[in-house]
């Protein structure tokens, strides 16, 4: 038996997919909340890589607060113009000096933010239409030794928790897949008018699923209202096509439901993101680390994006709980649903959570007792290797929003 405080319980709850009503949402990569999540996470990764290069270890930082203040545009079929730039505020803190050497924190932050926005929103002219301001507090490295000690397990930065579950159910996979597909490089090539700001909301009632998809179309590819209607029709068909591959339930798809084609009041943008027209975004207000918002499941409110990947348990426990739920569920086909919550205690080694609370629902009755110890062992093993998560985050092997 593992020495860690791992509690495996029988799941006594109805998981969402067994309820009558289920709701799942994903804010696509071009949604203002996701954009700023992505910006801050990429800054954390870039800083981490820079620290590793310079010092052989990651130094302290948490850049998990950021804000996008929407700009203003005048959009018309075929084009448009920016009348007020998008404003991006980078916030948080990072080590700028250690061992007598300086790290160009603000340079890295601004450079990375620009690069990320350019890469993520194809039609946004970041140089001209985005103002980026860094208010990241640059400190020196007093706590470095405590923070990341070679050969020693990091200690939890706070008393906090992370939670994860697996596997994704039908509706969850569907919502995720739709956004991923519409934002894939291939799809963009064949459908350039589809912007990156895509929000997918899935509602299941009984066996019927209703997908409400909101897409910021790009005006320059749409010469008039007819073109818009045509493109929207095609995208709707694409979504139905994807849905049929993922679920056998009946799926109804609505795209941009607030459109009024008669009045030519439709959802078109210059850049493909609503951030251009007044929509704001904040870190941590969008997807959880599995890429979804699942109100009928337990969720952490902690933003993972931008937090340091070494000892910030709000991040590393969320990622680890998600990853190990998935792997444990894959190893044991008896598992219908598994939810893992890791609770830290400030100042204690992160591989020793105060409690790892696991609840398991098996596909058939009577399987739980046999599984219990195996699951506990699986959790124990993942905790043993928790520091591996840090690398996976830094080198982009796991998603955090």
């Amino acid at each position: 038996m593992p020495k860690r405080n791992i509690v495996v319980e029988r799941e006594m709850q109805f998981p969402p997919f067994k309820r009558d009503v289920e709701l799942v949402e994903r804010k696509g990569i071009g949604h203002p909340d996701s954009l700023i999540d992505g910006v801050m996470e990429e800054i954390s990764r870039e800083l981490s890589r820079e620290y590793l290069n310079e010092f052989g270890r990651i130094l302290h930082h948490n850049v998990d607060k950021g804000q996008i203040c929407g700009g203003a545009t005048e959009v018309e079929f075929g084009g448009g113009l920016f009348t007020k730039p998008i404003y991006v505020l980078l916030s948080g803190r990072a080590t700028a000096e250690a061992e007598g050497r300086k790290i160009p924190v603000q340079h890295i932050a601004i450079d990375t933010a620009k690069r990320y926005l350019k890469d993520t929103v194809r039609h946004l002219d970041v140089d001209s239409d985005v103002e980026i301001e860094s208010r990241i507090s640059a400190g020196s490295a007093e706590l470095a030794s405590l923070f990341s000690r070679s050969g020693k397990m990091p200690v939890a930065n706070d008393t906090s928790f992370g939670t994860g579950f697996a596997p994704l159910d039908d509706l969850e996979r569907l919502v995720l897949a739709v956004e991923n597909y519409l934002n894939s490089a291939d799809y963009k090539i064949s459908h350039p008018s589809v912007g990156e700001d895509i929000k997918v909301m899935g509602l299941r009632q009984g066996n019927g699923i209703k997908l409400t998809v909101s897409i910021a179309f790009v005006s320059k590819y749409l010469e008039d209202i007819d073109a818009y209607a045509e493109h929207k029709e095609k995208v709707t068909e694409s979504i139905i096509g994807i849905a049929e591959k993922i679920t056998e339930k009946e799926v109804e798809v609505s795209v941009n439901t607030a459109d009024d084609i008669e009045k030519k009041s439709v959802y078109i943008t210059l850049s493909g993101t609503s951030a251009e027209m007044g929509d704001d975004g904040s870190v941590g207000r969008g997807n959880r680390v599995n890429g979804l918002i699942t109100p009928f499941r337990g969720m952490s409110l902690e933003a993972a994006a931008g937090k340091n990947p070494v000892n910030h348990v709000g991040k590393i426990y969320s990622v680890l709980a998600t990853v190990m739920s998935r792997e444990i569920a894959e190893e044991h086909e008896e598992i219908e649903d598994i939810t893992i919550t890791l609770l830290s205690e400030i100042g204690k080694p992160i591989d020793q959570p105060k409690v790892a609370s696991v609840s398991v629902l098996t596909k058939e009755k009577g399987q739980f007792d046999k599984l219990k110890d195996k699951v506990a062992h699986g959790v124990d093993r993942h905790l043993e290797e928790i520091t591996e998560m840090t690398n996976q985050i830094v080198f982009g092997k796991v998603r955090v929003f």
Copy 2:
């Protein structure tokens, strides 16, 4: 039977208080996340009152994005000084012109933010140590007629949902009570060294509760490390006193666990909030509308603070679901736990949610069938009077964080 789509189910889940492990958190009113929640909500309320005065109806606004970037201080026993001001960014959008009249949106925003911060953090010199910038987009009132029409039910601004539950369980009541007590006017008079930035985290394992309380003490009332230790001891006793009145479970209390008294490394501040020393805050990253963070319950990720109280379902449904859960639970003593989720459909009247999903756990078996219709009627009645929520929010009768 009500015509609304109200589904009342038997709760098939173990509510948190029946589980082995339960976790509840509250960020006190002086925590950076709560501070910015409070600032933006107060701005929304002040704007609403101004719109009512000027036009007889509330005009469109959503000021639900804001950011506090922490300042820097040098703190020592007996005093200290600010070396970098706290920066507060106000964001979102609000109607600044309607019917040929102007509303001084930026004036109201900045004025309200200052007043709120002064009222909330006693020892913060807002005039000198806080920089406030408003990037609220001030628009004109094209959508006013749609938004708030006299005699007509507002229509949902989006497809979204709100959730609420009742009653609070032991741990939840305890966490809430501790913060409320430590931040009460009476307590502050007798214990002036206790700052407003208080975070209470409650962990229950079986019958034992551990409260981890983090308090920003105010340096000017503490002449040396001994005074600090003494004050901390007194506060710990106060918390134990409160706990005994609320729960019969065994409660262990730790205050400022990261302190190192030997090294004089303790949690003291100039102003009573960690925002002074680099801690940032964002709207919607703290408490839900019932004042708590309850990771083992379903939660909405929507920030309520700052959203318009007329048709933003992310706010009004959250508040209504919370209020009606409480009132229905109080009316029917058979109810052990009730959770209500309201799902909107964009463009539909807000008193007609797409679905009102209710799950009820009764204290004894066999009570559900008799309750079902009564609960449905209760939900129907509250939906009938949903617009009443707007006034309660505007005039400060309900909390939103």
Copy 3:
């Protein structure tokens, strides 16, 4: 004979008052350029006093860059409102740490800026309608020993110069007096509708003077266009009254010449300064240290406001040259006009200018030769006591704009 390099020449030029055309301007204390001059100078003074209190000497600082970005208002007779706040950017650099002690530079800067604006513009609600941001770079005190050494003469920070002349001629005295009178406390009490933003431009052609005065009237004291016309008429009379006391030349006065009374297009403001309605201000773009802009005289382009009063020759030489011109002219009644230019050499003691170039015009021929040595002695003596200027500046005994 003095050992300093003092060159006294016979003035070979026609001073402006002997020319056919002469132009003089003063931007009153509420003009945006003067406002920001005043803000930054007051910050320098406050910092200097703080340094003196803490360290017994003034530490290095130069806060001579600042910017006011105008706000926006809707003004009507009887009142109005702000629709966009005035934004004030404080810039420059100041010592924030020395001898292990910290100085709250940003706190002092913001606090002083607010206080100054409140004191200077009676009707500006600084708390609500002004955003102040400090980007003053706070450094540590490496150069302190060089900068201000007890018992040693400071050394020039740069190769630069300052210039001054005396006495003021008729037109110069008139322009200065008009603004001073209209902005005096007494006048404000009896004429509350007269705002602080007053620009006086005086043009002399031969014996005729035309004063063009621009005044931001305060709307709340003016119920309608008739009241405006009446108040303007009274102010015009006040100016004529003052003019008659100062000069015997014929003076024509125009107030707010761009007014169109018919169309009710007149110069009224909410706060008494045009900064409320889009007019920007920058340090150093307004009056020289004698309070005037005199294009037909030699002028320094250096802003004095905000510069350190210890060794910044652009400031201290300008002030000293102005003060000593005045005193020397008063001592010797033969002097009709005296202009003194002090040129520094970086790194050399400030009481040893590279050259002090003096040109003197006497009232009668033949007086120059007798005066020459006396003037040189006077200049020498003032240079001897140059450090006295520092105190006079810090404690507000001399004007710098």
Copy 4:
């Protein structure tokens, strides 16, 4: 005789070149004051071209206020890094809407600012190390008809003046030439270590000239202190070479006089401008429209950079007075020195100044009377064609700083 109010007087003054002491300064194109002058002027030009393209006429704008807040760098031989970005604030006002069409003012402003900075400072990584914020007020075009009326002469925006003189004397030509040469493309290719931030101060006493030149060297081309000393030596020789071609007076050259080679305390930068290390810049604090600061000549304090080139007399009169002085001096070889001052009257056509005051010094006695009328005619002709100046400014044919 011309109908305009043109007064030609005999120059009664000693021009600076006839005095014992003369002082001239030029802030090079990479100096922070010049940089922000250049940024704002380029924005005005780009806006003007955009207005011409869209509307066939230039719309109202004045973007003559801007501020550079210096960044922070760590510089060492061979390289270095930015620790705080340079912050650039764009201010002023511009027409963003006319005839139902929008102009992307903020887009143009930010885009132009970036482009200009990239073109002007070779080694500044504008994308990463510069934050640009536009607070330009974007207004609509109420005054457009008054401002620029096809076929009608624009009317003066204010009562103001501009002044110019010709020809440049020895010292003035020398100071200008040195900076132009060191910042020429050819020189940069052969001397890449010479940054763009070059300040040249020339002091003449009798027949001796002392040039004090301050140059921000670029660290990456300098591997150690010896390389620095060597490069500085070469540049000094280059300057002596240029000087010999321009003047026969004896010229002494000092470069970076504050250097302490022993202590390796020298003037090296990462980017070639001192803006990287805390030096601020403001519009209008540097060179006058002839490219020089000439304290012994009459000067306007008005910044020309960024002002509209249609009716802002502070700009167009300064440029015209400078251009016409030069051309008139070239036409009449008898002229030793000519100074022209144009004074406007608000609301009057700009080709009808209130007075054009001209003073002429001839090389020989007795030439003035014959010249007087010719000069008056020349001034009259230039005023006749004043609107031509606008095009020359917009299309970059004349310098303004």
